[in-house]
């Protein structure tokens, strides 16, 4: 599913590149051109949007499945790290793509994101300049986000994706108990596997297409003045939990350290905690790997709860 979504997001992204103009004056107008004037432009853009959101969702669910079935433990620990890197990549790709709209809907998130970088001690200013290209958010910022989105993040994402899939095979396929301990020896045929995957892809494509047609990707009026923040000050949905954390106190601690800490925690789990017993590999919630499950569950619930809190808060 994630591979299919990556292909859709990549294909529609390439189509958008033919019309998108990464300058502050033209960016939002070119998005309007794609949305309203290019034949099927609205569908392509909405497909790009929805497949990107779906990808993030699917990757998150995949992470939970991996953690709750003990699949991240040895020998798949390294692939777990690759997977987490892909999750971070998806988030960054989604955020950079969101900023490329360069309209009033993204203004607030861009300013907060840029200021968060600045809040990091010692290297913050350098990171801010690397990310935004200078003190004022403008042409240098946009071209950086464009380059990261279409190249700087996409290329590593593709390489890591291939590596991730390759490692699945190298690590002995998906996590199941070793042959001697298996109770269920039945395996589905290759043909059946292709059939199932094709079916998933078809259903996914249908849902995406209908979503794209019924709920077009968001759009707003072009930015008039970067210093005037007028519209809804909500972060994109995948950063709502960070936005909620930011209300708690110091931006560096709550906006940078804590999210990075959670990521570190998820990475460290298979290295620190024991994995499930071989016989229970691939089973949901195996009794022998409770620690990892509880930690992951707490992180997931916390992120979900923070997101809900941010959602119900009046804008």
């Amino acid at each position: 599913m994630a591979v299919f979504l990556t292909l859709v997001v990549g294909g529609t992204g390439i189509l958008e590149m033919f019309y998108y103009i990464p300058t502050p004056e033209q960016a939002a107008l070119s998005v309007q051109t794609i949305t309203y004037l290019v034949p099927f432009g609205s569908v392509v853009r909405s497909l790009h949007y929805w497949s990107a959101q779906a990808l993030l969702f699917v990757v998150g669910v995949h992470l939970l499945r991996v953690m709750f079935t003990g699949a991240s433990s040895t020998p798949r620990r390294f692939n777990h790290l690759l997977g987490l890197a892909l999750l971070v990549g998806s988030v960054l790709l989604d955020f950079t793509g969101y900023v490329l709209r360069w309209d009033q809907g993204i203004q607030w998130a861009l300013v907060v994101g840029a200021n968060l970088l600045k809040a990091i001690p010692l290297v913050g200013d350098s990171l801010h300049i690397m990310g935004t290209g200078g003190a004022n958010l403008g042409a240098t910022t946009l071209i950086r986000f464009y380059s990261w989105h279409t190249f700087g993040l996409t290329l590593p994402f593709v390489v890591l994706s291939v590596w991730h899939i390759f490692r699945v095979r190298r690590d002995g396929g998906i996590a199941v108990p070793p042959p001697a301990l298996r109770t269920d020896h039945e395996r589905i045929s290759r043909r059946e596997l292709v059939r199932r995957e094709l079916l998933a892809a078809l259903l996914c494509a249908t849902v995406l297409l209908l979503l794209a047609a019924a709920c077009p990707a968001p759009i707003a009026a072009p930015i008039v003045d970067m210093r005037e923040l007028t519209l809804d000050a909500r972060a994109p949905w995948f950063f709502l939990w960070v936005q909620e954390l930011l209300r708690w106190g110091d931006p560096f601690v709550f906006g940078v350290l804590l999210p990075l800490g959670l990521l570190g925690l998820l990475s460290a789990i298979p290295y620190v905690l024991d994995g499930p017993a071989p016989a229970e590999l691939g089973r949901w919630f195996p009794a022998s790997g409770r620690g990892a499950q509880i930690l992951t569950g707490v992180v997931a619930l916390a992120v979900a709860a923070l997101t809900v809190m941010a959602l119900v808060r009046a804008p």
Partner: protein, 416 residues
């Protein structure tokens, strides 16, 4: 089983694709307009099909829509397209008029280049309401004289050209005064200046800003997006002036507006309130046939009273028993009279024609001297022709020094 599920899923995807493609194809085809001034394509006409051109002076092919209205020129979604429009449906509202109608190529500039329309309108008594405010403050002892100190909005004038001109006005905030009458005045009596949203009711219905006068609504209230209101004209009928004027009176005791109570059915009764005395030309003509541009839109100075700006008298057209009314021959091809006649082509004016001219030098471009020594005036709003004679040579014995309308009314007033 697996095959049939795959087939079914494929069929559903195919059907969805067909539906999406059909929906896309059913969307209206974008209608492009590339105005020669901006040279940037805009797609407003995709939805606004058949909207009448706003005026001959603002052709659609030259101006397009966005240069005046703002908005998102490429967006075909109603909400987004309209989101950045200036002044909603009315870009001439004074809050945005400089961006919409102004600019050195259009209606903003200096007196010398005759593009100071916005500056004049915004400093005029119709906009500042300074005369009424000063008069009320003086009446209720909040200021020692009738010189204006406050306007509806704060405004200043860098170059004061007339003796009675005021350099600056502060924004009037009635709540800062002790007198309850002044507070009431602020609450009840500030809807008539042209920057204000008018009071409710069809008889008061007008836009704000330039459009308050130049987009006459005709009969009935303006509807949002009403095609008949997409008009800019200098042919302003008296009914448009009467959305503010002649609608009733302020009661100084209660500080409330008392609407006129009569129900006029014809022009002669509709024009003025029953209390007024007037002569035939005062109702047969429209207000703008006598009152000049400077009187209506101001002279660029901030004044304390309309009396400082109103100067047209009966003698402007009729002269006195000793003098003929002043006249001028149009010589310059760029003369203001020719330009005004081109904007509102009720007369065919050309160089060599002789027209009346006011004592301040404003040509009455809709008048003409006839061969028999009489004059003709063409109604700017009606196109109707009126022939009239000078006082000189008639039996009139009026003292040339006493020319206010009340003196003429003594003999020439009509009864209603």
């Amino acid at each position: 089983m697996a095959y049939s599920r795959l087939t079914l899923a494929s069929a559903v995807l195919l059907a969805s694709s067909v539906a999406v493609v059909a929906a896309e194809l059913r969307k209206p085809r974008p209608v492009e307009l590339v105005p020669s001034l901006s040279r940037q394509p805009e797609y407003c006409l995709t939805c606004h099909v058949g909207l009448p051109e706003i005026s001959a002076a603002h052709p659609e092919q030259t101006f397009g829509c966005v240069i005046c209205h703002g908005g998102e020129r490429l967006a075909l979604d109603e909400h987004l397209a309209h989101s950045s429009m200036r002044g909603g449906a009315n870009p001439s509202d004074f809050s945005v008029v400089e961006q919409s109608c102004g600019g050195s190529q259009c209606h903003s500039g200096s007196q010398a280049d005759q593009r100071d329309h916005i500056q004049r309108a915004m400093t005029s008594v119709q906009s500042t309401y300074a005369g009424a405010i000063a008069s009320i403050l003086y009446t209720f002892a909040a200021q020692p004289d009738l010189t204006a100190r406050y306007g509806i909005a704060a405004i200043s004038d860098e170059v004061v050209n007339t003796a009675s001109g005021v350099a600056a006005l502060e924004a009037f905030d009635a709540t800062g005064f002790a007198s309850p009458s002044i507070v009431k005045f602020g609450r009840n009596c500030t809807t008539c200046h042209i920057g204000a949203t008018p009071a409710d009711g069809g008889t008061y219905a007008r836009f704000t800003g330039c459009a308050a006068c130049h987009s006459p609504l005709g009969a009935g209230a303006p509807a949002e997006g009403n095609r008949e209101t997409h008009v800019l004209t200098t042919a302003i009928p008296y009914a448009q002036c009467n959305t503010c004027h002649n609608r009733g009176n302020y009661d100084l005791r209660t500080m409330a507006f008392v609407p006129r109570s009569d129900h006029p059915v014809d022009r002669v009764h509709d024009y003025y309130q029953p209390i007024a005395q007037f002569v035939r030309c005062e109702y047969a003509l429209d207000c703008i046939d006598c009152h000049t541009r400077v009187e209506a839109m101001g002279d660029g100075d901030i004044h304390s009273s309309k009396k400082e700006i109103q100067y047209i008298q009966c003698k402007t057209c009729h002269g006195t028993r000793t003098d003929l009314p002043p006249a001028m021959t149009v010589t310059d091809t760029n003369d203001i009279s020719l330009r005004l006649a081109q904007l509102n082509p009720v007369v065919e004016l050309s160089t060599g024609d002789r027209v009346l001219v006011t004592e301040q030098g404003e040509p009455l471009w809709n008048t003409r001297l006839l061969a028999d020594g009489s004059y003709e005036l063409v109604g700017k709003a009606t196109g109707e022709r009126f022939k009239f004679r000078p006082v000189r040579g008639s039996g009139c014995t009026q003292n040339p020094e006493e020319q206010a309308s009340q003196y003429c009314h003594e003999c020439h007033a009509v009864e209603r």
